[in-house]
Symmetry: C2
C-alpha cells in the first residue's frame, strides 16, 4: 500500500526540499485552492506582495541571495502577464525562478468557457502559456495525473540547474489529486554535471597547464560566476593562486575588495567603438574601467574569465581588448581556450576540479590593502565623486546592498566593498523599479539564512541597504509597505535627483519626458505605509541636502545599527 500526497503538497514539498522557506505571490480566483495546499506544508510560508511584478522582482532578489530559485505564485492571465517583465529579468540575469500559475479547471479549458480573464469566445485557454515561452527554460501544464509528479520534478530540476525561470501551470481541479508520496524519499537531482567528461577533462587540463606556464595571469570573474554558484570557488581560486583579480560592473563584490590582489572593475576602455559610434545608447553604456585596470588586465598573458556575460553595459560598450591567445573563457553553456570552443561544458564542475588541483599547493595569502581611492568630503553639496565612495565606507562585512539601475548602479562601482558584501543590481536587464521589489526578496532570504532575531548565531546580522532613485521608487513604492508589514528593517536611500537622471544624461536633459512628480513627501512615506506611532512600528526618516547632513546620519549609531526601517 502506497501512501499518497496531494498534487499541491507534492509540489510545495519539492520546493521546500530546495531549502526554500518563503513563497511570494498574489492570490487570485484560480490559485486559491492551490494556496490551501501550500498552507498545509509546514516548512513553507506565504508572503503576499502588493502586485505581481513586484512579486517577480522579490523572487528574483531572493534567488540572488539564497542561491536557489525564488518561487512566485500568480493567477491565470492577469497575474502571470503582470509578472512578465520581472520573469524576463530573471531570465536575462540568470537569477532563476519557479513561477507557478493557477489555471481554470481542465474541463473549463476543454470547453473553452468564456470565463473572466479570457479574452474572447472560444479562446484556447493556454494562449498565455505560449506568450511566456521566450522567458523560460521549460514548463509543464499539469493535466495528466500519470505524469504530474515526474513533470514537477523535471521542471524544478531544470530550473535549479539552469538558473533560468521555469513555469508550472496548475489547473484548479488537479491540486488535490493524490500522488505517490514515496517519490519524495528520493531527492531531486540538482547537481550540475558535464555529460561529456572527456571534453571537461581537456578544459581542466589545458587550463591548468596555461596557469602553470603563465607569467602574468589574471582572474576576471563575471556575474554568472555568482549566479551559478561559483563565487566561493572563484575566491578559493584567487586565494590559492594569488593571481590579480578583477570583477565586472555586474559582478562587483565577487572578490574581497580589500584584498591586495583585487584590482577593480574591468569594463573595457570606456570609449565608443567605431561601429556603433552613432548610437547614443552604446556611448552611454560606457562605464570606464577603474584607472589602470584595463591596461593591467589587457596586458596579462592569461585571463581566466569565469561566468562571463558580454552585454554592452558589462563590456564598456564592447571595448574589451583581450586577445584570444591570452583568454580562457569558462562559461555556463560553453568554455573556450584560445580559439578552441567546447560547447555544452559548464564552468562549475571545471572550476571545482581546477581549484581542488591548485589547492594542493597554494600560494601564501595576501594581506588586506588600505583603500587608497577615498575622496573624502566633510561639507558642501553631495556630489557623485563623494557619495559612492562614502557609501562604500559605510558598509560592513556581510551587508547586502541593492543599487537601482541608473545613477546608483553606475555610481556604486566607485565604492570599495568590505569582505562578504553582496551586491544586487540589474545592469543587463535594467528594469527600473526592480530593486524595491528585489529588496523584499533579499530581506526574506537574509532572514532565512541568519535565523530569527532571537537566534544565537554569532555571525554578524547583515544589513540590507537599498539605493534607489526617485523615479524608480515611483514604479514600485508600495512594496516598502511589505517591508514594514513583515517586520524588516532595511536602510533605504532615496536619491532625490529630480526625475529620470540617467535618461537626462543619455538624451534630452531638459525635456519634459524625463520629469516625474516632484511632489512626493519622502519624509512621510514610511508613516503612510505603516511605520508610525499608532501601529507601534518604528521608522525614521531624514532629509540630507548636504554632506554635513548626510554625515550626521551615516555616523549615528542608531542609524548604523539598522534596528528599525529608516
Amino acid at each position: 500500500m502506497t501512501s499518497t500526497i496531494s498534487m499541491g503538497q507534492y509540489l510545495f514539498k519539492r520546493v521546500a526540499e530546495l531549502g526554500i522557506e518563503h513563497v511570494f505571490g498574489v492570490p487570485g480566483d484560480f490559485n486559491l485552492t492551490l494556496l490551501d495546499e501550500l498552507f498545509k506544508v509546514q516548512e513553507l510560508n506565504w508572503l503576499g506582495v502588493c502586485n505581481e511584478l513586484n512579486g517577480a522582482y522579490a523572487a528574483d532578489g531572493y534567488a540572488r541571495i539564497k542561491g536557489v530559485p525564488g518561487v512566485l505564485v500568480t493567477t491565470y492571465a492577469v497575474g502571470e502577464l503582470s509578472a512578465m517583465n520581472g520573469v524576463a529579468g530573471a531570465y536575462a540575469e540568470h537569477a532563476g525562478m519557479i513561477h507557478i500559475v493557477g489555471m481554470p479547471t481542465r474541463a473549463v479549458q476543454k470547453a473553452r468557457t468564456m470565463l473572466h480573464h479570457t479574452m474572447e469566445p472560444g479562446m484556447d485557454q493556454t494562449i498565455y502559456v505560449g506568450m511566456a515561452e521566450p522567458i523560460r527554460k521549460t514548463h509543464t501544464i499539469l493535466t495528466d495525473e500519470n505524469t504530474m509528479a515526474q513533470e514537477i520534478d523535471r521542471v524544478i530540476e531544470a530550473g535549479v540547474k539552469s538558473k533560468l525561470p521555469v513555469y508550472i501551470y496548475v489547473p484548479m481541479d488537479v491540486v488535490g489529486i493524490p500522488l505517490d508520496a514515496s517519490r519524495l524519499e528520493k531527492r531531486l537531482n540538482t547537481t550540475v554535471i558535464n555529460s561529456n567528461l572527456q571534453m571537461e577533462d581537456e578544459v581542466v587540463q589545458s587550463t591548468l597547464e596555461l596557469i602553470r606556464k603563465s607569467s602574468k595571469p589574471s582572474i576576471l570573474a563575471d556575474v554568472l560566476t555568482i549566479r551559478h554558484g561559483g563565487r566561493e570557488l572563484a575566491r578559493r581560486l584567487a586565494s590559492a593562486t594569488q593571481f590579480p583579480t578583477y570583477s565586472t560592473p555586474l559582478s562587483k563584490g565577487v572578490f574581497d575588495e580589500t584584498d591586495s590582489k583585487y584590482n577593480g572593475v574591468y569594463n573595457g576602455e570606456g570609449k565608443a567603438n567605431s561601429r556603433h559610434q552613432n548610437d547614443y545608447l552604446l556611448k552611454a553604456s560606457h562605464l570606464v574601467s577603474f584607472p589602470g585596470c584595463a591596461d593591467s588586465l589587457e596586458s596579462s598573458d592569461l585571463v581566466l574569465n569565469i561566468g562571463f556575460l558580454l552585454s554592452n553595459s558589462n563590456t564598456g560598450g564592447f571595448t574589451r581588448k583581450i586577445p584570444d591567445e591570452n583568454l580562457v573563457l569558462l562559461g555556463h553553456d560553453y568554455c573556450q581556450i584560445h580559439d578552441k570552443k567546447f560547447d555544452g561544458i559548464h564552468f562549475l564542475p571545471v572550476l571545482k576540479r581546477i581549484v581542488e588541483e591548485i589547492e594542493k599547493n597554494p600560494k601564501q595569502s595576501s594581506i588586506p590593502k588600505p583603500d587608497t581611492r577615498a575622496n573624502i568630503s566633510t561639507s558642501g553639496p553631495i556630489t557623485q565623486s563623494y557619495i559612492w565612495q562614502r557609501i562604500g565606507r559605510f558598509l560592513r562585512p556581510h551587508d547586502i546592498i541593492l543599487s537601482e539601475s541608473g545613477t546608483a548602479q553606475f555610481g556604486l562601482t566607485d565604492a570599495v566593498f568590505p569582505p562578504h558584501t553582496q551586491l544586487i543590481t540589474q545592469t543587463f536587464w535594467s528594469s527600473i523599479g526592480y530593486t524595491v521589489g528585489a529588496c523584499l526578496g533579499a530581506l526574506v532570504a537574509s532572514r532565512e539564512q541568519t535565523g530569527s532575531s532571537t537566534s544565537t548565531s554569532t555571525s554578524p546580522t547583515p544589513r540590507v541597504i537599498l539605493l534607489v532613485g526617485d523615479g524608480s521608487l515611483q514604479m514600485t513604492v508600495q512594496e516598502i509597505g511589505s517591508y514594514i508589514r513583515f517586520g524588516f528593517t532595511p536602510l533605504i536611500f532615496v536619491i532625490n535627483n529630480n526625475g529620470y537622471a540617467i535618461e537626462r544624461a543619455i538624451h534630452g536633459p531638459g525635456m519634459g519626458y524625463n520629469d516625474i512628480s516632484m511632489l512626493w513627501d519622502h519624509q512621510s512615506m514610511l508613516g503612510f505605509l505603516g511605520a508610525r506611532k499608532e501601529t507601534g512600528i518604528q521608522g525614521r526618516s531624514f532629509a540630507c541636502r548636504s554632506v554635513e547632513e548626510l554625515e550626521g546620519v551615516l555616523d549615528e549609531g542608531e542609524f548604523k545599527s539598522a534596528g528599525c526601517i529608516q
Copy 2:
C-alpha cells in the same frame, strides 16, 4: 517638390487627427528620440505615468471615455512587457489602444548586439514582438522607409475600427526619416462599414420586420454597444421604440436609468448551471439579476441584444435563458437572427439604419420614474445594502464613475444612475488595481472633452469618482500621485474591508493568503503623494466608520463640488 515630415511627427500627427490630445507612457532609452518628435507636435501633450502597467490602464480608461484608442508609449522589453496585462485587458474588453514601442536601431537589431534589455547572446531582438501577438489586432515594425507611412495608417485604422489594441514598433534610427507630408491631407479611414451590403440589408430588414411584428419586445444593450460607439444609437432606438430596456453588469449606464422604460441589469438567473456546479468560480460569478428582471426579459417575444459579450460574469454564469426564436444578436463580428448567423456583419451600420428607419415614426417619449428601490439608512454600520444605492443617489448627471473589480464592481449594480452617467469597470478581464490607472485616463479624457477650467461651456463639469478596495489600491497606488501632479480633483472612495474581500467571499475567508497590509494610513496618502500645505495643493481626507460619518461627508457642499482631490 513634395514637403516632408519626420516619421515620428507623421505618426503623432495621425494620432492627433483622431482627436487625441494626450499620450501616456514612460520614457526609456529606446524611445527618447521618438518622444522628441512627439514634443514637436503642438496638438499633443505628453503625460508621464509612474509605471507602464498603470500607463496601459490609463490609456484604456481614456479610450472608454473618449471613444478613440488611448495611446501608450513604452520602451523596448522592460516597458512593453510591464504593460502586457493592461493591454490584454483592453483587448478583452474592446477598449482599444495604440501601443507604440521604441526599439533598438535597425543596425543593432541586424547585428543582434547584446544590448541591455536583451536576454542572451545572439538573440532575435524581435522576440518580444512575438510575445504580444495574442493581445493585439495587428502590428507593424517600422523598418522599411518605403512603406512606413502606409503601415502607420493601416495599423491605426485597424485599431480604431476594431477597438482592439494595435502595436507600432519604432526602431530608434527611423524616427527622423522624412516621409511625404502630403499623405496627411487625406484623413484616415476609420468608419466601420460592412463590405457585404446584401447581408447587411437582410439583417436590417429582418430585424425591422421582427420589431414590427413583436408584441412584447425588449432591448438588451451590452458593453460592446458602448465600446464600439453605439451607445447614442441604442438610446435613440430605445427612445424611438419605447421598448423596455435592460443593461448587463458590464454595460450598466448604457441607458438612462431614471427612464420609466429602464428595467435594470439582466444577468441570467443567478444560479449555477449543472455542468459547472463544482466550479466555485462559476458559482461566485453569479451576480443575480435585478428582482423580476430576468422573468420580464426572458418572457419577451423579441430581444434585441446589441453588442453582446457573453462571459461568465456578464451572463449570470451562463444562465441566460433567451430562446433563439426570440433573439436577435447584433454583434461586432457577427449578427444572428433566430438561428441564422451573418458572419462578419458589424452591428454599428446595422443599428444606424434601423434607428433611422424607426425614427421616421417614433413613439412618444416616456417620463422619468422615481427610484423605488432606495434602501435608506441614517445610522449604524456601513452595509452593502446601504452603500451602493447611496452612492447612486450621490451621483450627478454626467459623472464618470470607476468601480474596481470585486466588491465595488458587484455592489454598484445596486445603484440607480442619473442620466449620462458613465461607468468604467472591468468585469470581464477583472484585473485588480485597474481602476486606479484607468481613473487617470478618465480624468484626462474628461478634461479634454470639457475644455479647460476657464471654459465658458455651459455643460456641467463631470466629476470623476473612483471606488476602489484597499487590496486593489495597493496594486497601483502611485498613480494617485499623477492625479495630483496634473491638477486633477477626483473623489476617491477607498473601501477599507480588510484584504481581498471578494476572494474571501469566493474561497478561504479566514486564510492568510487573502490578507494584505492593514498598516497603511489612508488619511495621509494624499499628503504623501503631493496634496499638502507645502505644495499649495489642497487635498481632503475623511475616515468614515458609520453611516452618520459617511452621510456627513456625502452631504457636505465642499465635498460634493469636487474642487480638490478628496
